[in-house]
Amino acid sequence: MSSSWYPVASGDDLAPRHVFHTALGGQELALWRDDAGFANVWENRCPHRGVRLTIGANLGTELRCQYHGWRFSSGSGQCAAIPAHPGFTPSQGLKVKTYPCVERYGLVWTTLDESPEDIPDLGAAAWRSLRAIFVEAPLAAIAPHLPEQTGLALFLQPVSETRTVIHGLSGDMSFSPRQHDDALTRLRDRIESATP
């Protein structure tokens, strides 16, 4: 994986009080938006007993693990409460692993790297995100086949070694999202039938 920002969701996927599951480069992620609108990109694993945070609850300012009710603060991922010990202040550093998050062009972007290249600059045009297309193929098998078309921007999320998501943005309002959807679906079918 190159040192980049990758889109990992559409902003709309992070619905109020929801926890969204995805992955980047084999790393499972739990994405959730707090009530103030801030989007969190976290490792999908409670530091206590390893339970996926995507089966937990988005409480609006904290995410609560489903196993022991430990609560973790939006932004920092710091453990805010351990219900088994109500009087106890969790130590600094007892936190969920967090990743940087930027919302741009209607997509949620993150990076697993310390110093990634910038998110591509698409100018000031109005972009709307298309339906994300899951492809059962590695990123390298897809990249050469992406169409180049004015008013269409495509980005790849390498979910794992064998699975990729195509995130599309349409800046040409004369094209309906359905036309782009159809073209990307045909692209997926061609790539998957050529991938062993």
């Binding site: 339970v51 996926r52 022991h68 219900p83």
Partner: protein, 278 residues
């Protein structure tokens, strides 16, 4: 292959689940086995590949075997023989997790109010008071464990503070003793015998040995299965599926003293199967 795990007795079936005279396939430590029950409750077990007879014992309503040479007899559970107890083979549930993760969950007090909300715990009664943990070569013992339970058992009426004792006499088996509703001097016994099918796949066999002169066997089974059905999705969402034994692999709270002792005991006994050794 882990010689320590090979040389243990392992559960492979609940006896009542085996038909007479019919070969039943199961799997233990990644090896395909065949079981055959004959009249008189004689059970034979052999690896599907070799046909060579394995040692078998039938205890606590379950069938146990070993792929190696058992270094010690199976642990004692004397309550099973008490004449006024109801011994119910309460279910055998496949779970996609390692055996030690399942045992650790069985020992865990802190999850009651969240995973078993309304039964074994409820908010705001979430505090876990200090309890005593000891261990020796024979296993781990946690005593003076207390939990407020809204529906501690099938015949409990209303919530009360229940006292628990937990015992881990085997790397993949755990037993809990909790205050009886009928007789305050005695305790109900619930045991989990975990069959390590593969490193990350198990069958959890449950035994209820309880003082209950009211409930049907089916009702006792249903209650245990209801509780375990709440645990199963938690177990299947733990990452990694194997239990990490390094003391700093996962975060700790004082309520986890029992699981800390269990992990140390697994390390000292040299159990590797289903774990990530320290």
């Amino acid at each position: 292959m882990d010689q320590v795990a090979l040389d243990e007795w392992h559960v492979v079936a609940a006896l009542p689940s085996l038909p007479f005279g019919q070969e039943v396939a199961t799997r233990l430590l990644g090896t395909d086995l065949a079981l055959m029950r004959s009249p008189g409750d004689v059970v034979a077990a052999w690896p599907a590949a070799s046909g060579k007879a394995l040692p078998v014992c039938i205890r606590y309503g379950h069938v146990w075997t070993s792929l190696g040479t058992p270094a010690r007899p199976l642990f004692d559970l004397p309550e099973f023989a008490e004449p006024d107890r109801r011994n119910v083979m309460a279910g055998s549930v496949p779970v996609h997790v390692s055996a030690p993760r399942a045992v650790e969950n069985f020992l865990d007090l802190g999850h009651f109010a969240y995973v078993h909300d309304g039964y074994l715990g409820v908010e705001p009664h979430t505090e876990i008071k200090p309890y005593k943990v000891t261990s020796d070569e024979n296993g781990v013992l946690a005593t003076e464990c207390r939990a407020y339970q809204p529906q501690a058992s099938l015949i409990a009426e209303g919530g009360f503070e229940v006292e628990y004792v937990y015992r881990v006499p085997h790397p993949y088996c755990a037993i809990l003793y909790k205050s009886s509703v009928l007789d305050e001097k005695r305790r109900d016994v619930i045991a989990i015998f975990v069959q390590p099918v593969e490193e990350e796949r198990i069958v959890a066999h449950m035994l209820a040995s309880v003082l209950d002169d009211v409930s049907s066997d089916d009702a006792i089974k249903n209650f245990q299965q209801l509780i375990f059905a709440q645990d199963k999705p938690i177990l299947e969402n733990q990452i990694p599926k194997r239990l990490p034994l390094h003391p700093r692999a996962e975060a700790w709270a004082p309520a986890d003293a029992g699981s800390a002792a269990y992990r140390r005991w697994l390390s000292s006994r040299g159990v590797r199967y289903g774990t990530i050794p320290a």
